[in-house]
């Protein structure tokens, strides 16, 4: 067994530059949409790889809970340098909310074995930014979230969290759950060699029964929340755009005064 088992949670999300929309059952429509590894999870993969490079004997497993396509997120993470992957895929997972997804992820992570769990700061689609904290609650281990810097040494994580009111220096012992922000360091691009090597890396596919989870514990029907309505916001009406003729600032002042904004 490796001395430092790192698990990175990665999510496959619809491309934000496409028109995202809801399906008839008011879940996110993932059909006909190009997906990709949530950009913010690349930072988590990067930190995992850097930690691995800094210690003698570590192993990086990337885990996703999601449909067949979500394999795309795993391949990207493997081509960046992850060692192996776990894909939890089950039709009964459709429509799970964060409480459902987090319980499945927790089981998958326990199944894999871990010392350090790394997450992104938020997924670029749901964007709740709460899963890492909930995962720590479920696993019963310390949380170190929204980190802009972290070091792992001798079983201890030291880190910096830049909050609104203060910058905090944190410390916890492994095992722990960590999430990193986009300020933790640019993520590497997969090299050609990395992409080729990724094709041969092991991917374990698990369904709910493999994890001992009953179908009715997760998914849309079991979700703790229900979306009753989803309405497309009317596009903003195009406003006035004028070229500055030397009085742009004054005209802007007129506009603001007209709207009683000043």
């Amino acid at each position: 067994m490796k001395t430092l088992r790192i698990v990175v949670c990665v999510k496959y999300v619809p491309d934000a530059t496409c028109d995202r929309r809801f399906a008839d059952d008011l879940t996110v429509d993932r059909d006909d949409l190009d997906g990709l590894l949530s950009e913010l999870d690349e930072y988590a993969v990067e930190q995992a790889l850097q930690i691995k490079e800094a210690v003698d004997d570590a192993e990086v497993t990337v885990v996703t809970v999601g449909p067949e396509d979500a394999l795309g997120a795993l391949s990207k993470a493997l081509s960046m340098g992850g060692d192996k992957a776990v894909h939890v895929e089950d039709d009964d997972l459709h429509g799970s909310d964060v409480l459902g997804t987090s319980s499945v992820l927790a089981r998958a992570i326990e199944h894999t074995g871990y010392d350090l769990v790394l997450c992104g700061m938020a997924s670029t689609d749901g964007g709740m930014g709460v899963l890492p904290s909930i995962l720590a609650e479920r696993l019963g281990v310390p949380q170190l979230t929204q980190l802009s810097e972290l070091t792992v040494k001798d079983g201890v994580v030291t880190a910096r969290r830049d909050g609104d009111l203060a910058s905090e220096q944190l410390r916890a012992s492994l095992p722990a759950v960590v999430s990193v922000t986009d300020r933790s360091g640019e993520a590497r691009y997969p090299s050609f060699k990395g992409i080729m090597a990724a094709k041969k890396k092991p991917v374990e596919t698990l369904d709910l029964s493999d994890l001992g989870i009953a179908a009715d514990e997760v998914g849309l029907a079991a979700a703790w929340t229900k979306v009753d309505e989803a309405a497309q916001r009317p596009p903003r009406t195009v406003g006035t755009i004028l070229a500055d003729d030397g009085s742009g600032g004054r005209q802007l002042a007129d506009f603001l005064a007209g709207r009683r904004l000043v």
Binding site: R20, Q143, L170, R183, L242, G249
Partner: protein, 318 residues
């Protein structure tokens, strides 16, 4: 009437505006009971009472500052057990969301984050959310346990509705397991004296176009009593602190007026400001995507237009 827990966001007893909004929203679904953690409950209580708190459950354990987040969950959970509320409302800050998420797990409850409105509904509170970078509005409710909802700043106009608001001490035992992450040191951010970015009615934001010099943006902000925002490009360049970044990985703001100067309007930036009531932009490039969003746009050099606007506003006020 059923009680609704409202988690108080404050700075040493000074209650922050989002909490007053939460109290206002809570009154639509029940009787607000404020949960105040840390020092200064007595100072805060009159304000909380003015906005409708029937009581203030207060605890000030050293663990709240010594360890990250989780001891506060223990406290909110203790308040939950004490009150058996109909719902729990928490401000949508990074920490607020984490506390809410953990409380939801502990109480077997559904969780809704980043609501922009909360109303009473037949089957419990209905939360409105703005999703996919503001392109959809959804209405959701919680179907299990006690609704735990985090609410974004600027979601309601705080309205006073005086209530008793007496302070009651809340007994809290911080579990050993909640002391997992030690806060070794804390460096407070210097206050600029300007309004808080997420709470401000007006935000003036600068991007790469300010070319290292935020003085024109700051002068306009001060003339308007506004908060200052920045694009990630401006933050990455080191021109402005990250706590002022607007966008997907910064703050999400929804002011009455958002003025973007020298910002192109990338999707990640738009994600954080798209729901602003009125949007104004100044940009040299008429093709900049920010102009797709604006109510009023000036194609021009921000170093001409912004100071002129500031001078004009100052002159009109005299």
């Amino acid at each position: 009437m059923a009680e609704v827990l409202v988690y108080v966001d404050h700075a040493d007893g000074a209650v922050r505006k989002p909490t007053l909004e939460l109290l206002t929203l809570a009154r639509r679904i029940g009787e607000p009971v404020a949960v105040f953690l840390g020092a200064g409950a007595e100072d805060a209580a009159p304000t909380l009472a003015e906005y409708g708190a029937t009581k203030v459950l207060a605890a000030d354990e050293p663990e709240f500052v010594e360890y990250l987040v989780v001891p506060k969950v223990d406290a909110l959970h203790a308040a939950f057990a004490h009150v058996s509320p109909a719902a729990v409302l928490v401000p949508s800050s990074v920490e607020g969301k984490e506390i809410a998420g953990r409380l939801a797990v502990r109480t077997g409850s559904g969780l809704i984050t980043d609501a922009v409105d909360v109303e009473a509904g037949e089957d419990g509170p209905v939360a409105t959310q703005s999703v996919f970078a503001g392109s959809y509005t959804t209405k959701s409710r919680i179907t299990k346990g006690t609704p735990v909802i985090t609410v974004k700043p600027n979601s309601a106009a705080p309205a006073a509705a005086p209530a008793a608001g007496s302070v009651e001490r809340l007994a809290v035992t911080v579990a050993e397991a909640s002391k997992g992450t030690e806060v070794v040191s804390r460096t407070a951010r210097e206050s600029t004296g300007r309004p808080e970015l997420t709470e401000a009615a007006v935000v003036v934001a600068g991007g790469r176009g300010v070319n290292g010099d935020f003085s024109a943006v700051e002068a306009l902000a001060d003339s308007l009593g506004a908060a200052v925002g920045a694009s990630r490009a401006a933050v990455d360049a080191g021109w402005y602190p990250h706590s002022n970044q607007v966008g997907q990985t910064g703050k999400s703001v929804s002011p009455q007026l958002y003025i973007a100067a020298g910002i192109s309007g990338a999707i990640q930036h738009r994600a954080g400001m798209q729901t602003s009531r009125t949007i104004v932009a100044v940009n040299k490039d008429e093709e900049a995507p920010i102009f797709d969003l604006v109510d009023y746009g000036v194609v021009g050099d921000l170093f001409d237009v912004v100071p002129q606007l500031t001078a004009e506003l100052d002159a009109r006020r005299r």
